[in-house]
Symmetry: C2
Subunit: 314 residues, 2 copies
C-alpha cells in the first residue's frame, strides 16, 4: 500500500510517496509562497502532489490516502487549518480542498510537529514503541505525543502544547507571556539567552570569546564545552537539567517506551542525549519497578514530516 | 447488558452490578482483611462477587464481564497487581484468579484511581466528555486521564502519575523524595502543612485559634476563610493557585473537555472549584481559539470506583 505525505513549511512544501514501511519511494520539494492568496497556495500544493504522483508512475487508485502536516493551529478531525503564523491560512478547509483538486478522497491533516512525532515513533528513532513523547528543541519547544500508536491531540486538536507546562513557579517569562514554562528554559532560544548571560558574567571565558567571534547560537555553549571551557560546561549541564525536568514530567504522565529529542539542539548527539538519559532514568517515578525509558535523538531529520504525514493515513 | 464492578480498598471491598448507563442496580460492601494470605483475600473478594450476583437474581451469562479497581501498582494488560501498600498482593494475577473462582472469563483490572476517573468521565461529572483529567486531592495527588474515551496508562501501566510532574524547580520535597512536585503543593497533606505554617506565623489569627481547638485538617483554612479570617484567605487562595498550576499543565498537554476534581478537598465545592475554573480559563494556552475547559467537582463520590471498574468491560 502506498501513501502521499505532504510536509508544509513556511518556505517550502515537500511531497513524498511513502510505503507501509515508512520508506520514501520518491519525493520533491518546491518553494512555497506563504503570503499569497489562500487558493493560490492550495493550488501550488495540489500541483506538486499531482506532479510527484505522475513522476512515481503510480495510479491514483493505488494510493490509500494523502496525509498533510501543516504548521500552526490545525483541527485534525475537521481537516481545517485554523490559523498559521507563517502561511496565509485562516480557517482553511485544506483537506477538503486538496481532495477536490487532486481527486483522492482520503485526505488527513495534522500539525507538522505531530506528524514528525508520528513518523519518528513509527519508523524512526522510536520504531517499535506504542507510546512515545517527542520534543523538538528549536525556537520554542514543540511536543508530539503518541499514545497506543495514535497521536494525542486533545479536544479540537488543541492539546500537545507541552512547551507550556510549568516547571518553575514564578520563573522566566515564556513566549506566550506566562511565567515559568518549559519552553522558557529548554528551547534553543532559551539556551542562547543562558549562553549570553554567562558571557556577560564571565567576559574572559572561552565561551565569551567564541561568542564574540562567531555570534551566539544554540551550538556555542556545547562547542566551548567541548574545548574545555568550565563556564560553558556549567551552561550546558544546567540546560540539560532544564530539558530533563520537562522530560521527567512527561515520563511520569505518559510512561512511554521512548522519548525522542529533535530540533536543532539534538544535533549535539551524545553530548546532549547521554546526560539526558541519566537524568530521566534517575528521576522518573517508579523506575525501579518498570522497564527503563529510552531517550534517543531523532533520526529521520527532514524526512520525519513527510513520513509522519503519510502515516496519518495508515 | 450488565457488568460487575469491584472497588478494592484498604479496609473494605465494594461490589456492584452496573448497567450500560452506569447505574448501580445493586451493591454490597464487605470488610477486607488486607494483611491476610493472598489467596484468602482473593477468596473473600470472589465470594462477595458471587453473593452480589446471586442477590441480584442475575445469571452469569447475562454478565458481560467483571471490572476490578485495586490500589497500588497494577499491570492492566496482564491483569496483575504488582504490589500494593495496603493489601498483601505481590505480583498477584488477580484477574485470572477471580475469573477461575467466579466462573466468568472476561475480567479486567486497573488502578483504583484510574477506575474512579473512568467512572466520573463516562457517567459522573465528566459525562459526555471524550477527554478528561481527574485529579484526586487527598494524602497525595492522584491523576486519572481519559483520552478518546480510554484510560491512559502508559507502558506497563506505569504512567498517569501526574502528582509527580514538577511545578517548582528545587521546591518543596515530595513524598517520593524528589523536589518541587505537584503533590508537594496541591495534596491535602500539603494544604495542612501550609495551614500549620500560617498558624505559626500568625498565632493570633482566627485560623490559628480554630486549629488549636480542632486540630489541623484540609478543611481548616477553608472554614476559617469562610469566617472571614484574612490569613486563612491567603492560605486558600495560594493553595488554589498551586492546584491550578498543575491543572493548566495538564490542560496544555491534554486539552480535555473537562477537568474533574475529587478527593477530600473537593468537598469544599464552589469555594475551590470557582477560583480554579477562573485560574484555568485565564492561563490555558490557546484558550482564545478553543472551546473552554470545564472544571468540575466529582459527583459519583464513593460509587465512582464501582462504576468505573465496571466500565473497564464496556
Amino acid at each position: 500500500m502506498k501513501f502521499v505525505g505532504v510536509d508544509i513549511g513556511g518556505m517550502s512544501v515537500k511531497v513524498g510517496i511513502v510505503d507501509e514501511n515508512g520508506t520514501i519511494l520518491t519525493k520533491k520539494t518546491a518553494v512555497c509562497h506563504p503570503d499569497g492568496d489562500e487558493n493560490a497556495i492550495v493550488g501550488e500544493i495540489a500541483s506538486l502532489i499531482a506532479e510527484v504522483i505522475d513522476q512515481a508512475g503510480i495510479l491514483k487508485r493505488e494510493l490509500a490516502g494523502i496525509g498533510i502536516g501543516c504548521p500552526g493551529s490545525v483541527y485534525d478531525e475537521k481537516g481545517i487549518v485554523r490559523y498559521s503564523c507563517n502561511i496565509n491560512f485562516r480557517n482553511t478547509p485544506l483537506a477538503q480542498k486538496i481532495a477536490q483538486l487532486v481527486g483522492i478522497g482520503n485526505v488527513r491533516l495534522s500539525n507538522d510537529a505531530n506528524c514528525a512525532a508520528l513518523g519518528e515513533t513509527l519508523f524512526g528513532a522510536g520504531k517499535g514503541a506504542k507510546n512515545s513523547v517527542m520534543i523538538t528543541l528549536g525556537t520554542g519547544v514543540g511536543t508530539g505525543i503518541v499514545v497506543n500508536g495514535r497521536l494525542l491531540t486533545g479536544n479540537c486538536s488543541a492539546g500537545a502544547e507541552g512547551g507550556h507546562i510549568q516547571i518553575n513557579m514564578g520563573g522566566r517569562k515564556c513566549g506566550c507571556e506566562k511565567q515559568g514554562h518549559y519552553e522558557a528554559y529548554a528551547s534553543a532560544t532559551a539556551l542562547i539567552a543562558q549562553t549570553l548571560e554567562a558571557c556577560r558574567k564571565y567576559p574572559d571565558s572561552l565561551l565569551a570569546k567564541l561568542v564574540a567571534e562567531e555570534g551566539a547560537s544554540g551550538k556555542s555553549a556545547f562547542e566551548a564545552a567541548r574545548q574545555g571551557c568550565p563556564v560553558a560546561k556549567r551552561v550546558t549541564s544546567r540546560y540539560i537539567k532544564y530539558v530533563g525536568m520537562g522530560l521527567v514530567s512527561f515520563a511520569n504522565v505518559f510512561y512511554p517506551e521512548t522519548i525522542i529529542v529533535g530540533g536543532g539542539v539534538s544535533n549535539e548527539g551524545d553530548a546532549l542525549i547521554k546526560p539526558l538519559q541519566r537524568y530521566v532514568s534517575r528521576n522518573v517515578y517508579g523506575a525501579q519497578y518498570n522497564p527503563p525509558i529510552k531517550v534517543v535523538a531523532a533520526t529521520l531529520r527532514n524526512d520525519a514530516g513527510i513520513v509522519g504525514a503519510a502515516a496519518l493515513c495508515m
